[in-house]
Structure formats: structure tokens, C-alpha cells
């Protein structure tokens, strides 16, 4: 080797030695950076955000699947939902979003226990974390066919309600200790519903009776960022993808609980891309409109339904009319359990309209033999194509 080649080789080695491959990129946060007390508030906000996101994205499709809205656009998954067909491919987004909401809350609680230690139970964010975990499990339980937890095997969908009840119970206890009435009441409302869905109507009525009629606990939406937008408003106000046209709610444009208007081009009602006239829901007027997760009027109807199960149609109508009065509506009368049940099913549809709850109501009523809307339609979301393809326990 000549001196010059040696020099060249040395220069090469020096150049290599000088290059440091370590790069710090801004933006994404490393997982271990979340193991910090100061990260807890944002972690719990994230649980709320993931729940709002999952619910908000599902609202439009859930409404299409359960006769609350009609498809006015050309989107393929939405068209399938509207047709009553849940194709595993189409379910990917909803299944994934709902599972993420559940997982961030449940795994976040595990992380919080580690990070907060003895202060876990007294931390102001802990009851909220339990509450979001409860609602995330309820969202899954009410809409999907089978429970799959963390890549595990398929279980009965009631597993979600069991988990939800347990999480609501913890939220209730810690929030009560901390004098956090808002979270405690929301936990009661949530627990009341999942107790009923597990057949524990007595427990459900006991919880529901403790929720004030005017109480509402909302999933939060905002115009702050696109991710915080209420997607249902995007699909109906910003765009014309879904329409009230063709649903039972289109028959009465004076109903204060299911409001809508029309958009006109000249004198003709504007049509969506698939030709459906656009009757625009106005329950949520902005991208920041909140969506109720639980509320007092829902509790009245839950108690009314419990009464009906005992054939107490008079007691049921009293509770229903109490609910109607809060919306300024005249009382209704029924002279039989069957008539009262028809009113109850309609009232639940109106009170909970576009809140992502209808599919479950229709599904359980079909099972009870009191409603046939879903008779020839798919009843619940199957595990998504992604879950089926990637989860070995489902094969």
C-alpha cells in the first residue's frame, strides 16, 4: 500500500468514524416517556379523545345501519351498512377505533397504577379513566357480535358489559370519595344501562333512579382539530353523505328530538350523489356539538322499560311522559303493555337518536320478539377483517 492509499484509507475510516447514526426526530413520543406522573392528565384526555373519536366515526354508520339515516352518497362501506350488511372489510375502521378506545383506557389504567403507586386511587384523573373505560366497553358491547380482548379468543359479547360494569363501579366509588358528582352520576348512568343489558333490571333501575332528569354526560367534540370534529356533522352538514329522507324520522319535521331541514338548489331539494334528497339532521349543528353518553331522560326510559317488563304499562307511561315533558311534549296514553311498548320503542329512538345506541335496542328487541327491523338484516358488527386476518385465536 502506498502512502497515498494509506492516507486515503485513513481518511475513509475517519469519515466513517465521524458519522453518528443517532437521530432524534421530533413529533412522535416514545412509549417510555408516558411513564411519568406529569403525563397522566394527557393520557386520560387521550382516553376521552379515543372514545369520542370511535363514537363520532361510528355515529353516521350506526345510524345508517339502524334506520336513523339514509345513505345519500356513494361510499361503499356506508352503503353496505345502510343496506343492513356488515362486511368485515367495511367494519375495519369502527372495530379498530372502538378497540383502541377500550385498550387506551384499560392499558392506561395499568400504566397509571405503576406510575402513581399509592396515589393512584386519589388521583383526580383516575375516576375519569375508569369512566371512559366503561363507556368504551359499552360501545363495543352494544354494537359488536363477539368480545375479543387484546388479541384473545372470541367470547360472548356480554363480556364487554361485565367489564363495563366493573369499570363503572370503580369510577363510581372513586368519584364519590373524591366528591366528583359529575363523574359519579355518569358512572351510575353507564352502569344502569349495562346492568340492564346483562338482565339485572333491578340493579339498573336502582342506578337509574339516582340520575337527575336534567343530567347529561357528553362525549366531547371540537373544531380545534380535525380529529376532534364530530364526524357525523361532517357527513351531514359539511357534506351530503347521509340524509333523514326515507327514515321514520322524516315523517315528522316538528319533532324536537329529531330535527332536520332541507337544502335547496333553486326550488328543488338538493340530492346527494346517489340521488337521495338531502334532509339534513340538525340535532348536531356544528363540528363541535357534543354527543350524550348517558343522560337523565335515557334513565327514565330505562326505568319505563323495566316497568313494562313487569307489565306495569301505567307506571311505564308515567315515566315516559315525564321524559316527554322535559322536551315540552304532550303526554301520551297507552292502554296495554303492547301499546306502551310501541311508544317506548319509538321514544327511545327519538331520545337517543343519532347517539349510536339504536342498533343494540333493535337487536335486543328482535331477540325479545318485540321488533322486527333487524329481522332480515345483519344484527351486529362482526370482528373486522383485520382482526380476523391477524388474530390467530380467531382462526
Amino acid at each position: 500500500m502506498t502512502p497515498t492509499t494509506r492516507a486515503g484509507a485513513l481518511a475513509t475510516l475517519a469519515l466513517l468514524a465521524a458519522c453518528d447514526l443517532k437521530v432524534t426526530n421530533p413529533g412522535p413520543i416514545a412509549d417510555d416517556q408516558l411513564n411519568n406522573v406529569t403525563a397522566v392528565p394527557a393520557l386520560v384526555n387521550g382516553m376521552s379523545g379515543d372514545l369520542s373519536f370511535a363514537l363520532g366515526r361510528y355515529l353516521d354508520r350506526g345510524a345508517l345501519a339502524s334506520g336513523e339515516l339514509s345513505e345519500a352518497g356513494l361510499f361503499i362501506p356506508e352503503t353496505h351498512y345502510f343496506q343492513g350488511s356488515f362486511v368485515p372489510q367495511d367494519v375495519n375502521a369502527d372495530w379498530g377505533n372502538m378497540q383502541t378506545a377500550r385498550w387506551t383506557a384499560e392499558s392506561g389504567l395499568v400504566r397509571m397504577k405503576q406510575v402513581l403507586g399509592a396515589a393512584f386511587e386519589t388521583n383526580v384523573n383516575t375516576p375519569r379513566a375508569y369512566l371512559y373505560g366503561g363507556f368504551a366497553n359499552r360501545l363495543l358491547g352494544e354494537n359488536v357480535c363477539v368480545a375479543v380482548i387484546d388479541g384473545g379468543a372470541a367470547q360472548s359479547d356480554s363480556v364487554y358489559f361485565q367489564r363495563a360494569e366493573s369499570l363503572f363501579t370503580r369510577a363510581l366509588a372513586l368519584a364519590t370519595t373524591a366528591n366528583n358528582t359529575n363523574v359519579a352520576t355518569a358512572a351510575l348512568g353507564g352502569r344502569a344501562s349495562v346492568r340492564a343489558w346483562q338482565g339485572n333490571w333491578t340493579g339498573a333501575v336502582a342506578d337509574a333512579a339516582l340520575v337527575p332528569v336534567a343530567f347529561v354526560f357528553n362525549a366531547i367534540y371540537s373544531t380545534n382539530t380535525a380529529r376532534e370534529n364530530l364526524d357525523l356533522a361532517t357527513q351531514t352538514i359539511t357534506r351530503s353523505e347521509s340524509s333523514v329522507f326515507g327514515t321514520v324520522y322524516a315523517l315528522n319535521n316538528k319533532e324536537p328530538r329529531a330535527t332536520w331541514d332541507t337544502v335547496r338548489t333553486g326550488t328543488a331539494v338538493t340530492k346527494g350523489a346517489n340521488g337521495t334528497p338531502v334532509f339534513r339532521q340538525t340535532k348536531y349543528k356544528t363540528l363541535a356539538a357534543p354527543v350524550a353518553l348517558t343522560k337523565g331522560t335515557e334513565m327514565l326510559l330505562l326505568r319505563a322499560e323495566a316497568a313494562l317488563r313487569n307489565n306495569d304499562f301505567a307506571g311505564a307511561m308515567t315515566l315516559i311522559n315525564q321524559e316527554r315533558a322535559t322536551y315540552g311534549l304532550a303526554a301520551l296514553t297507552a292502554t296495554s303493555t303492547a301499546a306502551a311498548r310501541t311508544i317506548l320503542q319509538s321514544e327511545r329512538g327519538l331520545v337517543l337518536w343519532l347517539e349510536g345506541r339504536r342498533l343494540w335496542d333493535l337487536r335486543r328487541w328482535l331477540a325479545e320478539g318485540t321488533n322486527t327491523f333487524l329481522a332480515t338484516r345483519d344484527k351486529c358488527l362482526p370482528p373486522s377483517a383485520d382482526e380476523q386476518a391477524s388474530n390467530a385465536n380467531l382462526r
Binding site: 484509507a9 437521530v23 379523545g49 379498530g96 377500550r102 386476518a389
Partner: protein
């Protein structure tokens, strides 16, 4: 011809010599100085050589210097001693005034020694040196001044005798060299005295090497006539290890020589289409300025892109396109920012067998662009001016007289279901189309000064679309400077800057898009009042053009290379490069827009930088029959990406908005990424008798995106080349040149910046409060995917150079392919995680044939054919089908081409029956499997050239999503007749479908339960006449001072033939960033007519 030395200072010294007049026998008079600069050939005039080289026997010793002399002088001026020796030996002596002024004192005591030895001892220990000529003339000058001469001459075409421009003339073993100027002239100054070998190379010709003896201050004239050869084994190609001779290289490298292209070429992708085998160019968009997809030998990666990496003048630039304009569905390819009038040649290195030394990321191949360098001699300028039009022919099937309501929009038009509509805003011409003007200017100046040569250029291009909006305007400058600092050190600086403003027309799948709205007729999103017929649906499609979709870029590339050749066998190259590309992509929906009355703005601010350091050294050595070339090198690539997406909506008032004009404002996304890749290579080439070459090499790479558990990656390569025709047993009767070659090598592709680590994204929740959401699961053992390729082939020249053939077969396998794996969503992380699990296989062949069909005095006809065959197949993918894009029916599945269309298929297409549908069927591979590009060039009277280039692509498929969507809206004219029959059948006419096939019933279905996009996956085979041109060289007498002028008439895309029923078989609305393709309301590419005047002066 008078050639003048560039090293003026040295010449002046010689000119100022004083001559002893009459005092010495044979001496010249001062009034009659020698004029060494006027020498034209080695036989004329005195040529001074150092005394030392004469004594060493490099040239024959002049008789006078052998004469014995005796001198004994103590402490006298040097000139006194010299005069004594000259007198005794009968030598002619000359020296300068500077010697008289300096008058160095010397002592000499010699007896009976030769005059040469006496002269040597006289100047020994002084700062003076003795020069002698062959006839015994002696000159004395200061020692240490380098002794240099010049080499000048002309390179010509052996057959035509015409001068050859742009031939590379190189003094071997030095950095000295020149490209020949117009007429083939060259002058290389500052050549060290002594014997040299001068090589002359030009693409398309056989190289030649000439020996010359350079003497001080003299000019050696050499005239070289080169013979044609398309297989030039002496040609130099640039590889990662430096320059190598074509005969040494064991893999195929395709070279496109721009000097042979007479028709103007808009950009690199247009140039590569049809000219190089193994290259697939897909246009994607018809928008002026839009970047296409370039693939070399198919696809090697599912997730990491398949764009080749790009080098410009030896410096790597980013291959990342700008962000896609959401409204315009177009992006800008960085490779198109190199102006074609600046380019000298492009080398395409196709597969990993050849790209190993380029390291991680090179598995998609390498495109090397070389821009023009300086000419020898004075400044020479070229000026190109082009003018022309973009013009759109009929759109869609011929039976649709309205051309999807684009060619014809006036009056009342009718959809398939009888819906009548009128466009109140249809232009008075009755068509949305117009001719889009094109203007291009390019000015280039090349020349050289004493130690530099330079190429400076500027260009301006402006091209309009065939619609009311749509424009690609760009301007750029370039400076290439080459500095020969010393005979051993050359510095090169190449810099370019391009500014581009593109205004897109709204295109693709967007509710604002042109073709989407216009082709849907009454289904346009832009409805309103103002139509004359109150019974028709009134549309206002002119409103489409109120949105503004723009991309502006500033692209700056600079690179410097120092090449140091301390001794002939050793060469060290050090390069540094900086590529900086800034883009602003803006979509504005104005206040008062028909669909979004309050308006909105979305803007992406993007910049990308690539910083390169590259050092490489090569050492050549000869040992008897063996030659070796050892190369080592190291590179770092520091890639940075910043991208910020911003949006605002709800403006307060009309006017041109900014991001702060909206009531609602959003920072949508911010990306800041940096990836460093560093590596080194070593390569050893062993040659035997200059005909058999074995090369082995290895590349070692580290990358910041590799997982922590991964470390360095090693990629090996091995190749062999055998010039069989150099063997003595070879009979060159039919085949003069035959080179066999084979190579195997590996390359890879790195994962993205964050793919290896588990991350969370900071987001807002609870109305603007800080929050986290799960982002990336992470995989600490993530590494690059590796592609191993084996290639074999030959290059041959036959029938006295009339026929040249180059053939390659290759087979590649990508293992550990980075596949985006879906983890169970119930595990929480929604994003897919890259895993090294997949296998992709490619094999194919490439054939390039060129033939001189006719060569007479006034007529010259040549033809060429490029053939490419690519078979791509996905191997084991860990048991899963990878969804590339479900809406495009695009999947990667084991055993099928990657990617493939998979979906619903009608199994009884030709039956007169209802369609029988099978689900999840393989419908066809996405990319073409064979490409055939014929070309013919006719030259008449040495003045007029006709050139035609066509391209067949076969084997690909395309989802005609526009047909599928419009059929359902009764806006697909080819379905009108079938749909009428379907309605008639539904109405009770049972015979209505008696002549309607299942395929037509499925494709044109009215019932949504029957419709399926899968029925619309079609073969997109096509033939396109890519370019046709006629060039006339104007006679010199017409031109006055300018040296050469030619006029070219050219046309592009003049003819298209395809069974594809959509608008264009090359359309794709998803740009280059995704793997899948579909034709979804992309407005097709126009045809182009141009007239170009090229002048050099």
C-alpha cells in the same frame, strides 16, 4: 490553424529569450526568435525537452551533446560557463534576460566529459534548468517551472469525415481532458512534457488511443477518426466505485445519449419512456408538470416505494416527489427538474446486481444524470426556442359523440336514463377544450479559460393545459465549472436552481374535479340557474375553474467533487452534495364558491434536503497479464423532511385568502424527520489480458431507521465480464465484438424513520387539551428488506457494426420484504407495523437491438428496438393477503403479481345469460409485463432527419373506476344501449336481453346488487406513438455569423391504440406514493405539437 498555449506566463518567458547573435556558431539571432507556439505537428519547429530526459534516454541524444568538452572556471557567471560549453560543442545556445540579471556565480571543473554532462554540472545547485532540442539547440530557463505543452486536434466520424462534437479526449493518467467543440476540435493545455497516451471516446463510437510526445511549449496535433459502434467496450461508465470501462463491467448499463436526440424532450420521464429497456414509465396524470412513476425491472418493495435513486453529476438527490395536490391529483417529480437541454447523457443502472455498492435504498435501481461540461476553446453558445400547442383529441369511446360531454357541451344533452341537462356555462366554442400554448427557451454557453472549463445555462418553459386553467411554468439556471487546479487535482462544481409554478386543473376523485363533474352530466355537483331550457337540469360546470390548486417549488442542487490523482494508478474522489427542494401546495376554494360558499384553504409547506458526503479511491495496477483495480469508498446520506399541513375555512369576504383569512384554522399535521444512512464499500476487479474481468465487492451500511437490535447490514456482489471476441480463435467475420457478462448482487431498502420504535402521537382531546393516542407498535428487530439479483447477458456488434445487440436476463428475490402487518386491532394499536416477512420475486429479460438498415451517400436509415419483459410475483407473505387499497381492489397475495387486482369476476362473460359472479378472484396484475419500443430514424442528404418512436405496453391491468361510477349514474355512454334493454326487460319485455352478454349485463347493471367494481378491471395494453419529429439542418450560407441552425417539427402522443375503455390506459389518480393504481376521473394527457429552432454560434 494557430493554437495558442493557455499557460501564457510560461510562454512569455520563452518568447523573451535573448539569443546570442553571431558569437556562437549555430546560435540564432535575437531578432529572429524561434516561434514554438506555431508548431502544428511534431515534425515542425524546435521542441524543448528537459536535459534530464535526454540524458535518461527518453529521446535520442543530439550529436552535439555527446561532444567532449573541458571547462575549468571558478566563480564566474553561469552564462559564461554555458557559452564556453556551447562554443566547444558547437551547440546553439539561448537564454533569457532574467539569467543575465540574476547572474548566478558558479564554479566548474571538468575535463573530457560530454557536453550534456557539462551542462548538467554547470546548472547543478542553481535554480536554473537546461532545455534541449533534438537538433542540439540549448535553452536555459528557471528551474521548477513545470514544463508543459499542448495537445490539439480534431475528432471526426470515420465514415462521413464530419467533426464529432462532445467526444471525450483524455490524457490518460491525468485529470486533463476536454469534450470536443463544434467541428470536433479540441485543445488540451498544460500537458506535462513527456510521452502520453491520449484516449478519445464518444458514445456510439469505438474508442481510440493515440501516443504522443509532448514537449515544452509545443503543440502536438492529433487527428482521430472514430468508427461507429453501438457496443463500445472502451466506453467509460460511472459506477459507485468510480469510472470503469464498459468491458470491465459485468452488468448491463443503459446509456441515453442526448446529443443524438433531435426532437425536444420535455423532461427525464419523457426521455426514458421507450428509449431504455427494463424501464417502465407510467404517466399517471395528463396535467402539465405532473410527475410519473418510473420503475426499473418491476417492483422490489411492497411498502418502501420502487422509485430508483437519482444521481446528478455524481451527487445523489432525493427521489421523493412533492406532496400530491389534493385538488390537482398531481405532484412534481424531482427528476423532471433537470432541464433536458442541460443534459449530456443518462445512465440507467437497473438491478441490485449492479447497484450493490450504492447501498441501502438502491434496490429500485439507479438513474445517473450527467449534465453538460465545458468545451475547449472560446465560448460557444446554443439557443433553443420552441413554440407549440397542447391539443386534446376525442375523449372516451368513438361512439360517444360528446366525448364525455367534454368535446361537446353545448345545447341539451341526455344521460342514459333520459335525464336531460344543459350547461349554462358551456364555452361559446361548444367545447371545454382549447389549444394550450407551449413556449420553451434555453440558452447554454460552454467554453474554457486557462485552467477552467464551464457550462452555463438558463431556461424558461411555459406550458398550458387544454382546459381554461392548468399551467406549468418553470425557469432555471445552471453553472457547471471544472477547475484543473494542478495536473493532479481537478475540482468540479455543478449547481442548478429551478423555480416552478404549477397551476393544476381540479382532477381525479374530488367533488371539485373537472372530469368527474362534466362526465356525470346532470350529476354534476355544480348546479344552478341560467339555462334556456327550464325543463332540463341546469349545471354550471364553469364553476369548476373557480378553485385554485397550485404547487410551487424551488429546487436547488449543488455538488462539488475533487478528484485527486497523485500518481497515474491512484485516483481519489471526494464529493459533497446538497439537494434542497421546497414546495408549497395550496388548494383554495374561494369565498362565494357554489358548493362551499364560505370557502376554504389548505396548504402544505414541504421541504426536503439530502446532504451527501462521498469519498472513494481507486488504485489500478498491472502485473504481467493481470490488471487489478481496487476501489474503496464511504458515503453518508443525511435526509431531512419537513412537512406542515395547514388549513382554514369560513372566509369573511371575497378576495385572495391566506391561512389567516379563515374563521376556523387548523394545523393539520407536522412532520419533521431525519434519516441518516452511512456505509462503506470495497471492490476488487481482476482483469486477465484485458478481456476477462472478475469483480467482487461488498457494501456495509448502517441506517438510523434500523431497529436497535439490527446493527450494520452487509451486501455482497460478484460479477464477471468476458470479451470473447478478443480471443485469437474468434473470427470477426460476422460478429466483431462479443462480451459475455454475469453478475449477482444484493441491495436493500430501509424502513421509515419511526417504524422501529413504539410511539404515541400527541393529539388534542377534550376540546383542545393535550392528549396522546397510540401511533406505532414498533419492532426493535426491524431491518431493511434485501433484494438479491442474478443477471446474465451479452453485448454484441455484428456485420461490421451494422447490427448491435444487447441482451440481459435477470432474476431477483426480495427477502425480508417490509410488509405492513396488521396486528389484531383489539391490541389497541390501529396502525400497521412493518415486519421483515415478505418475499417478492421478479424475473425478466431485456433486449436492445439497433440496426443500420441503409447507409448511402444521401440516405441513412437506422432502426432500433427495446424489449422489456418483467414477471413479478409475490412469494411467502406470512400467510396474509396484503391490502394495498381495498377501494382500488389492489392486493398483494402469494403467487400473484405484486400488486394484483382481486375482486368479483363474471365467470360466464360471453353467455347470453345473467352474470354468474365469483368473488375474490384474481383479475390481473397491475403493471405491464412486456414493453416493446420500436424506433426508426431516416437521414436524408445529411440535412434532414425523420425520427419516430413508439411504445407497446402489454400485460397490465387498470381499474376503470370512472366507467364503474358513471355507469351507475347512467352517464357512461357505452352502457346506454344495454341499460335501455335492461329497463325494457324490467318493464316486461322478456326478449329485450336476448342479445346481451352476461359481461355487459354485469358491467352496465342498473341494480346496485349486481354492480361491482371488479367487472371494470380491464387490460390496459396499448400502443402509443410517443414521438415523431422532422429536423432540417439549415445550410451555413443562410446563417451569417451563426455556425449551425436546425429546425425541428415534432409531435408527441399523436396516436393511441388500446382495448381499454377508460380515458387513458396510463392514468392513475393516486399518484406515485401508493402502490395501487386506478383510473378515477383523471383527465387524459394531450397530444403535443412543437416547432423548435436550435442555433449554435
Amino acid at each position: 490553424m494557430l493554437t495558442r498555449s493557455i499557460r501564457l506566463s510560461h510562454c512569455v518567458h520563452l518568447l523573451a529569450l535573448l539569443y546570442l547573435a553571431g558569437s556562437v556558431p549555430g546560435a540564432l539571432r535575437a531578432q529572429d526568435p524561434p516561434t514554438p507556439m506555431k508548431v502544428m505537428a511534431s515534425s515542425k519547429g524546435p521542441q524543448y525537452l528537459p536535459l534530464e530526459s535526454v540524458r535518461a534516454g527518453v529521446v535520442r541524444m543530439p550529436a552535439a551533446l555527446t561532444r567532449r568538452v573541458t571547462v575549468a572556471l571558478d566563480k564566474v557567471p553561469l552564462q559564461r560557463v554555458l557559452m564556453e560549453i556551447a562554443t566547444q560543442a558547437g551547440l546553439g545556445l539561448s537564454y533569457g534576460e532574467d539569467l543575465v540579471r540574476a547572474a548566478p556565480m558558479v564554479s566548474v571543473n571538468i575535463a573530457g566529459k560530454s557536453a550534456a554532462d557539462a551542462l548538467a554540472s554547470a546548472v547543478a545547485g542553481t535554480s536554473w534548468a537546461v532545455l534541449v532540442t533534438a537538433n542540439g539547440q540549448v535553452s536555459v530557463g528557471p528551474a521548477g517551472a513545470p514544463l508543459v505543452g499542448m495537445i490539439a486536434g480534431q475528432v471526426t466520424d470515420r465514415e462521413s469525415g464530419q467533426g464529432l462534437e462532445a467526444a471525450q479526449v483524455t490524457v490518460e493518467g491525468t485529470q486533463l481532458g476536454q469534450a470536443t467543440a463544434t467541428g470536433g476540435r479540441f485543445t488540451i493545455a498544460n500537458v506535462p512534457v513527456g510521452p502520453h497516451r491520449v484516449s478519445v471516446r464518444r458514445i456510439g463510437y469505438e474508442a481510440q488511443t493515440v501516443s504522443v510526445m509532448v514537449t515544452d511549449g509545443a503543440t502536438q496535433t492529433i487527428n482521430v477518426a472514430l468508427g461507429h459502434s453501438a457496443v463500445s467496450l472502451s466506453e467509460v461508465v460511472v459506477t459507485a466505485a468510480g469510472t470503469e470501462r464498459a468491458r470491465e463491467v459485468g452488468n448491463s448499463i443503459s446509456i441515453v445519449d442526448l446529443s443524438k436526440e433531435r426532437a425536444p424532450i420535455a423532461n427525464t420521464q419523457e426521455l426514458l419512456a421507450g428509449r431504455v429497456s427494463g424501464v417502465t414509465v407510467l404517466a399517471n396524470s395528463g396535467q402539465a408538470g405532473a410527475g410519473g412513476s418510473i420503475r426499473l425491472r418491476g417492483v422490489n418493495s411492497i411498502s418502501q416505494g420502487n422509485s430508483p435513486i437519482i444521481y446528478v453529476d455524481g451527487v445523489r438527490i432525493s427521489n421523493a416527489h412533492t406532496p400530491v395536490s389534493v385538488g390537482g391529483h398531481g405532484d412534481i417529480s424531482p427528476i423532471n427538474d433537470i432541464d433536458m437541454t442541460d443534459v449530456d447523457r443518462i445512465e440507467v443502472v437497473k438491478g441490485p446486481a449492479a447497484t450493490t455498492l450504492y447501498g441501502t435504498e438502491a434496490s429500485g435501481g439507479v438513474i445517473q444524470i450527467f449534465t453538460k461540461r465545458g468545451h475547449t476553446g472560446g465560448a460557444q453558445a446554443t439557443f433553443d426556442v420552441s413554440a407549440g400547442v397542447n391539443n386534446m383529441g376525442h375523449i372516451g369511446v368513438a361512439s360517444d359523440s360528446t366525448g364525455m360531454f367534454v368535446n361537446q357541451c353545448s345545447g341539451i344533452n341526455t344521460l342514459g336514463d333520459g335525464t336531460r341537462f344543459q350547461d349554462a356555462t358551456c364555452p361559446s366554442s361548444g367545447s371545454w377544450l382549447r389549444n394550450g400554448p407551449i413556449t420553451r427557451y434555453a440558452l447554454g454557453v460552454r467554453g474554457s479559460t486557462e485552467a477552467n472549463d464551464y457550462f452555463l445555462s438558463g431556461n424558461f418553459n411555459d406550458e398550458h393545459s387544454v382546459l381554461q386553467v392548468g399551467e406549468n411554468k418553470s425557469g432555471g439556471v445552471r453553472g457547471n465549472i471544472n477547475v484543473r487546479a494542478t495536473p493532479k487535482l481537478t475540482l468540479t462544481l455543478n449547481s442548478s436552481f429551478v423555480k416552478r409554478d404549477v397551476r393544476w386543473y381540479p382532477d381525479g376523485l374530488s367533488s371539485n374535479a373537472f372530469l368527474l363533474n362534466v362526465s356525470r352530466g346532470s350529476g354534476s355537483f355544480f348546479k344552478g340557474a341560467g339555462c334556456t331550457d327550464a325543463t332540463a337540469v341546469c349545471v354550471l360546470d364553469d364553476s369548476i375553474f373557480t378553485v385554485t390548486n397550485t404547487t410551487t417549488t424551488n429546487h436547488f442542487i449543488t455538488g462539488g467533487t475533487a478528484t485527486f490523482t497523485p500518481s497515474e494508478p491512484l485516483s481519489v474522489r471526494l464529493s459533497a452534495g446538497y439537494d434542497y427542494d421546497v414546495a408549497d401546495v395550496t388548494d383554495i376554494t374561494p369565498f362565494g364558491h357554489l358548493r362551499v360558499p364560505l370557502g376554504s384553504i389548505a396548504e402544505t409547506k414541504w421541504d426536503r434536503a439530502l446532504i451527501t458526503f462521498d469519498v472513494a479511491a481507486s488504485f489500478r495496477h498491472a502485473l504481467g497479464f493481470l490488471t487489478t483495480n481496487t476501489a474503496v469508498g464511504a458515503q453518508t446520506f443525511d435526509s431531512r423532511l419537513n412537512s406542515t399541513d395547514l388549513s382554514a375555512s369560513n372566509f369573511s369576504a371575497p378576495g385572495v385568502p391566506t391561512l389567516t383569512s379563515g374563521a376556523l384554522r387548523n394545523i393539520v399535521n407536522v412532520t419533521e424527520q431525519r434519516v441518516i444512512n452511512a456505509g462503506m464499500f470495497g471492490q476488487e476487479m481482476i482483469g486477465w489480458r484485458d478481456r476477462l474481468f472478475l469483480t467482487g465487492g461488498v457494501r456495509v451500511d448502517g441506517n438510523s431507521a434500523f431497529g436497535t437490535g439490527f446493527g450494520l447490514q452487509t451486501y455482497p456482489k460478484l460479477s464477471a465480464s468476458y470479451v470473447l471476441s478478443d480471443e485469437s480463435f474468434w473470427s470477426p467475420r460476422f460478429v466483431e465484438t462479443l462480451k459475455l457478462r454475469a453478475a449477482v448482487g444484493e441491495s436493500g431498502k430501509a424502513p421509515g424513520a419511526f417504524d422501529a420504535v413504539r410511539t404515541w402521537d400527541p393529539v388534542a382531546a377534550e376540546n383542545g387539551q393535550s392528549a396522546f393516542e397510540p401511533s406505532q407498535v414498533g419492532n426493535a428487530s426491524l431491518g431493511p428488506e434485501r433484494t438479491r439479483e442474478t443477471e446474465a447477458g451479452f453485448d454484441a456488434s455484428a456485420l461490421h457494426g451494422l447490427l448491435t445487440i444487447s441482451f440481459s436476463y435477470y432474476s431477483s428475490r426480495t427477502s425480508g420484504a417490509l410488509v405492513p402487518v396488521t396486528l389484531p386491532p383489539s391490541l389497541g394499536f390501529g396502525a400497521r407495523q412493518l415486519e421483515n416477512i415478505g418475499v417478492l420475486q421478479n424475473h425478466g429479460s431485456e433486449l436492445s437491438v439497433n440496426a443500420q438498415l441503409l447507409s448511402r451517400r444521401n440516405i441513412d436509415l437506422s432502426a432500433g428496438l427495446q424489449y422489456t419483459r418483467v414477471n413479478s410475483e409475490a412469494g411467502d407473505l406470512g400467510g396474509q393477503t396484503i391490502t394495498v387499497d381495498a377501494n382500488s381492489l389492489s392486493f398483494v397475495q402469494q403467487g400473484l403479481p405484486a400488486p394484483s387486482y382481486i375482486g368479483d369476476q363474471i365467470t360466464n362473460p360471453d353467455a347470453i345469460a345473467d352474470p354468474v359472479v365469483a368473488h375474490n378472484m384474481f383479475l390481473g396484475g397491475t403493471f405491464p409485463t412486456s414493453i416493446i419500443s420500436p424506433r426508426a430514424t431516416l437521414r436524408l442528404w445529411n440535412r434532414v432527419s425523420l425520427d419516430a418512436l413508439g411504445e407497446f405496453q402489454r400485460g397490465g391491468h387498470l381499474l376503470n373506476a370512472i366507467g364503474f361510477a358513471n355507469e351507475g349514474l347512467f352517464a357512461w355512454q357505452p352502457c346506454f344501449a344495454v341499460q335501455t334493454k335492461l329497463r325494457s326487460f324490467t318493464a316486461g319485455n322478456t326478449a329485450a336481453l336476448n342479445d346481451v352478454t352476461a359481461l355487459d349485463r354485469g358491467r352496465c347493471a342498473i341494480a346496485s346488487s349486481v354492480r361491482s367494481a371488479g367487472f371494470w378491471v380491464e387490460k390496459n395494453d396499448f400502443f402509443k406513438l410517443r414521438s415523431v419529429s422532422v429536423t432540417a439542418d439549415l445550410p451555413n450560407r443562410l446563417l451569417g455569423s451563426s455556425k449551425a441552425t436546425s429546425i425541428t417539427l415534432s409531435g408527441r402522443n399523436l396516436y393511441k391504440s388500446t382495448p381499454y375503455t377508460g380515458t387513458d390506459p396510463e392514468s392513475a389518480d393516486q399518484g406515485v406514493n401508493t402502490f395501487s393504481r386506478r383510473d378515477y376521473y383523471i383527465f387524459p394527457a394531450p397530444r403535443t405539437f412543437l416547432i423548435t429552432v436550435h442555433t449554435s454560434f
